[in-house]
Subunit: 318 residues, 2 copies
Amino acid sequence: MRIGLDVMGGDDVPKIPLLGAKAFCAEYPDVHLVLYGQMDVMEAGLKELGPMPANTSMVHCPQVIGMDEHPAIAIKQKPDSTIAVGLADVRKGKLDAFASAGNTGAVTAGSVLILELLEGLHRPTIGGIYPNNGTYSLLIDCGANTDSKPEYLLEFAYIGQAYMKAVYGMAKPRVGLLNIGHEHTKGNNLTREAYKLLNDHKDHLNFVGNVEGWDINRQNADVFVCDGFTGNVLTKMIESYYEYLSATLPAGLDLEFLNFERVGGLPLLGVKGNVMIGHGSSTPFALQNMLRRTRELVESRLLQKLPGELSGLTNTAV
Amino acid sequence: MRIGLDVMGGDDVPKIPLLGAKAFCAEYPDVHLVLYGQMDVMEAGLKELGPMPANTSMVHCPQVIGMDEHPAIAIKQKPDSTIAVGLADVRKGKLDAFASAGNTGAVTAGSVLILELLEGLHRPTIGGIYPNNGTYSLLIDCGANTDSKPEYLLEFAYIGQAYMKAVYGMAKPRVGLLNIGHEHTKGNNLTREAYKLLNDHKDHLNFVGNVEGWDINRQNADVFVCDGFTGNVLTKMIESYYEYLSATLPAGLDLEFLNFERVGGLPLLGVKGNVMIGHGSSTPFALQNMLRRTRELVESRLLQKLPGELSGLTNTAV
């Protein structure tokens, strides 16, 4: 397996990506990690941090996309950036996956432009992995899209269901529509229409109906379908509890189950390649976990399974 | 002060409202509490629970609006319901405030129809009180509106600012726009437009810009402005942490600061009267606290201050 890592993506580069990469490579000697970055920056970093394990190589990318650059413009204007080159190498089959803690919008735009969407999909989506009581839930979309349409939410449901089956081995993940009430008449214009679509696709989706904010911690679904705005705000709120409660509750308490650095990365789904996204504020531990999630994603063969898993999308006459 | 309570509103009536009312009345002998309900139901409840303190009276309302009835239709078809009669008594000046743990949509629709909106406003809004590290934040709107327009969010900002000044004595509450990134270009169609409006009203609003999901627990604003869909999902998610962590963390830990029954009620704001809303699943303790919040709302004189606080809305030439 060959995984590419954006060494220029994040708040403290190349140090944090290199530290995360070192830990990951030592853990998985069978994985080959390709570092994408400006050669002089990477070499200066390695001089300080010591050499990388043998299962790594480096690719020089002269350009870097900044955290605040306009995603689509930056991807087009910087074909020699770490993000553009890494994604192109996925497309060419040189990599099984690419991971970046850089500009999320640029990774998303680049994935659509360079890898292209899977057949039958309108949009990519970000899956928010939520570890909870020894199992996992998925909040999807977590921010790949700012404004969504009902048919996007239907696609997120199919993708999320396929993810939970492939990556976590769930036989029949429960798909819930995140909403403001359980009754099918409840919701905003988007969720009321999405409810109808999801309900019409019950032959292919294990749709359990509307779920509410408190149903996430109660684990009343495995896949929580929502628009990317709601999912983004929620995910960041959820992530903040580790910091908040660590400062509020008595010291010495084990709150590691709330620590989202243990997740590390969220998959960008719906494109013809494996892509993993991390927070700009990732620590080395978070970076290492982003790479672990990337490895799991490749191992799950979700990408190979998705065309079959999405067949209900186009085969359902409504 | 005279407060009206809907004794037919909630999942276990009249028992829970009556128990909450008894505790509240014993605590505040100077407040007169008026119970709205079907007389036979109230009398049967009091027979079981024992008599109410002296500072109460009862109003017979033959009709009841169910939790799942269509709000606007129910309010029009049931003028003798507890919600319609209670709100009419606020309008007539017989009550200083009305509180209900019944059908939230019906209370909202009834408040607009019977009490009417304050001048200059398009919509009512629900303020989500969030106790955090010894102080309070407000999430507004928490679900009075399913689909919002940018000008609604501007109004929520003015109302939220006025609430924090009047009820919590904040001199200059920080108003943040809940969004998916800090940069002013970030967001969905709604928040990008709302940002411009809020920014144009900086003479009247202490607008601190965009804030994200993790800024809520970090208290990077006092008022978090959002659409009612996002606010509703978030509030229920936040509320679920008490239950979730109580079951997950070691027993004996003091998690009362996460217990939203201590809030008990959320104000419905923007109408010409004081209205407080509680969860259908309220316990007697939550009901008692809903009445405490109602008393605070009346004491704060927010309603008398709001026309002045909203003057910037119409006086700002943009």
